[in-house]
Amino acid sequence: MPTLNLSGAMRLLMLAAVFVAGVWSQSSGVIDDFIFYLPDIQFLAVQHIWLTVISGSLAIVVAIPLGTLLSRPSMAKVAESVMQVLNVGTTIPTLAVLALSMSFLGIGTVPAVFGLFVATLLPITRNTYTGLKGVSPALKEAAAGIGMSPTQRLLRVELPNALYVIFAGIRTALAINVGTVPLAFLIGAGGLGELIFTGIDLYDPVMMLSGAIPTAMLAIVVDMLIAITAFLVVPRGVNPSRT
């Protein structure tokens, strides 16, 4: 097939490009420059990952119950207005959120975690809410009609059926989170942003890339981890990627 040949050719071309890049970076000493930053990368990456893990898990722990609470019929009156507030909140740039949190929490890890938490919270809450609201009324009626208590309905029917949407929210939120962590350096929380921003200021591309490339790789890894978790956790019957 012609398409197969094309992709085969592309693959060869890619391999050749990687090889040429490798040869060039070896000969020009870029690899040695990168190795020079390795201890920094290791130290800052751990800091970076910690910021993501703490703010991300805090956000998940708060956002899912919050979204669930808002989706309850008894909350119907306030839920829409709260969601509107959250939607407006999502439009505020994360950099502004960090700046705001710095202005009343000062400099360091705490305001950074708080700012990241706020930025991550919104997409998860929104998806939890819409996911639960989107569970078919027929399912809820069937669950009620056969005698499940409200808690059983939530845990056995509503949440499992909304899980795929909730995971989509977590995925979006953590992608934003990992991408925003470099900005946390600006309010004194460290992370790989230190190499990126210092590299820019010193006009040192190798230093800048030593921060940027691991950040990009981290974003991809986090995304993959969540995709795998979703694949394993979402029940097979409601998992589009497993049918």
Binding site: A138, L139, A142, G145, I146, M148, R156, L163
Partner: protein
């Protein structure tokens, strides 16, 4: 037994109070299927859903097997009632087995018991347990899904079932099959069932009793034959349709109207004897010839008998049309029209002729019920006495 006592639901809407169900009182005897029938918005679904409190009654009471359900815990009440809805409502996140065993698990059955129950239910609805139990609802056809829906409702063996247009979303061919399967199951299970439908044909087929609703009120509550024979008012009459006399044909079996008198000839009889017998029984065209076991082997034509001499065995035509005692009148009428006959011989399970059913008997049966109704006198059968109870 389900008994509703002045069950009423008033909805508060922005346009003011709407009475969806207005003092509904009725009783479904144990083991019977009661169809709640009516146009949309007539209150039939509201009435049904008040029984398991999906909709809370404004006033009135529901008794199940004589017990006032008002004092029962909502969850306990619902677990003791099978519930089937039109949208099926299988849980897509659970396997078929998990779906079927939901209620037994809620009731705290042990694992071996509910797993065996799931297999038993699958056999009851004629789906292979090993092939289906581990699959998910999305992998099944609509008809299969609703069979599972019924199995889920029956899993904990509740004495009472509520079914809200259960077969409404299934294509007509599959619907007929599922209806037949369900009726067959019901013969053994003898559940007390409330069944909402807007399809008059389904109601006649499935119902032991039919309750007609209009604008929140119970208009008529009768057995199907009584309902078709004696609609209480113009609304019921128009809802049943102008062909309601024909619909009644579905409800009556040949057994009920067959007469034992039938003129027959044997192969050894002469054609003269056959002619005499044709005239004696008032047949227009022909008479049935039977063998020694009284099984029909052919018909002797009157025209032939008149003009020919000899024995019947030499002058008969192909095997005539026959009906079995368990066929319904609809089939009989159809055969009569198709073959231009005014009578049809009836046979038993061994194919022996036991009598005949005539067009006259059919029209007389349909007509007599109308006449009784119009004279408003007493019919002795149960249906009529029930409907008069209903008036009180």
């Amino acid at each position: 037994m389900i008994r509703l006592d002045n069950l009423t639901k008033v909805f508060d809407t922005p346009k003011g109070a709407v009475t969806a169900a207005d003092h509904i009182s009725m009783e479904v005897p144990s083991g019977e299927i009661c169809i709640l029938l009516g146009p949309s918005g007539c209150g039939k679904t509201t009435t049904l859903k008040m029984i398991n409190r999906i909709i809370r009654p404004t006033s009135g009471k529901v008794f199940i097997n004589g017990e006032d359900t008002t004092s029962l815990d909502t969850q306990d009440l619902r677990r003791s009632i099978g519930y089937v809805i039109q949208q099926i409502g299988l849980f897509p996140n659970m396997t078929i087995e998990e779906n079927i065993t939901v209620v037994p698990k809620l009731l705290g059955w042990d694992k071996a018991k509910y797993r065996e129950r799931a297999r038993e239910m699958m056999r009851m609805i004629a789906l292979e347990p090993d092939a289906f139990l581990k699959r998910y609802p999305s992998e099944l056809s609509g008809g299969q899904q609703q069979r599972i829906g019924v199995a889920r409702a029956l899993a904990a063996d509740p004495p009472v079932m509520l079914m809200d247009e259960p077969f409404g979303a299934i294509d007509p061919i599959n619907r007929a099959v599922i209806q037949d399967e369900f009726l067959k199951m019901q013969q053994d299970l003898k559940k007390t069932i409330m069944f909402v439908s807007h399809d008059i044909d389904e109601a006649i087929k499935m119902g032991d009793r039919i309750a007609i609703f209009r604008a929140g009120k119970l208009v008529q509550y009768s057995e199907p034959d009584e309902l078709l024979a004696a609609p209480k008012d113009d609304f019921v009459e128009s809802f049943l349709g102008e062909d309601r006399a024909l619909k009644r044909l579905n409800l009556v079996k040949v057994r009920d109207l067959a007469s034992e008198e039938i003129g027959l000839v044997r192969p050894d009889d002469t054609l003269d004897a056959a002619l005499t017998r044709i005239e004696e029984y008032g047949y227009q065209n022909s008479i049935v010839m039977v063998n020694d076991k009284r099984q029909p082997v052919g018909i002797v034509n009157a025209a032939v008998a008149r003009t020919t001499k000899g024995h019947c065995r030499d002058h008969f035509q192909s095997v005539p049309v026959v009906v079995s005692l368990d066929d319904d009148l609809r089939k009989v009428a159809s055969l009569m029209f198709a073959n231009d006959m005014t009578w049809v011989p009836c046979v038993d399970d061994d194919g022996r002729i036991v009598g005949q059913i005539t067009q006259r008997a059919i029209t007389h049966h349909l007509g007599s019920r109308y006449r009784t109704h119009s004279r408003d006198d007493t019919t002795l059968d149960a249906a009529a006495s029930l409907s008069s109870n209903d008036k009180e």
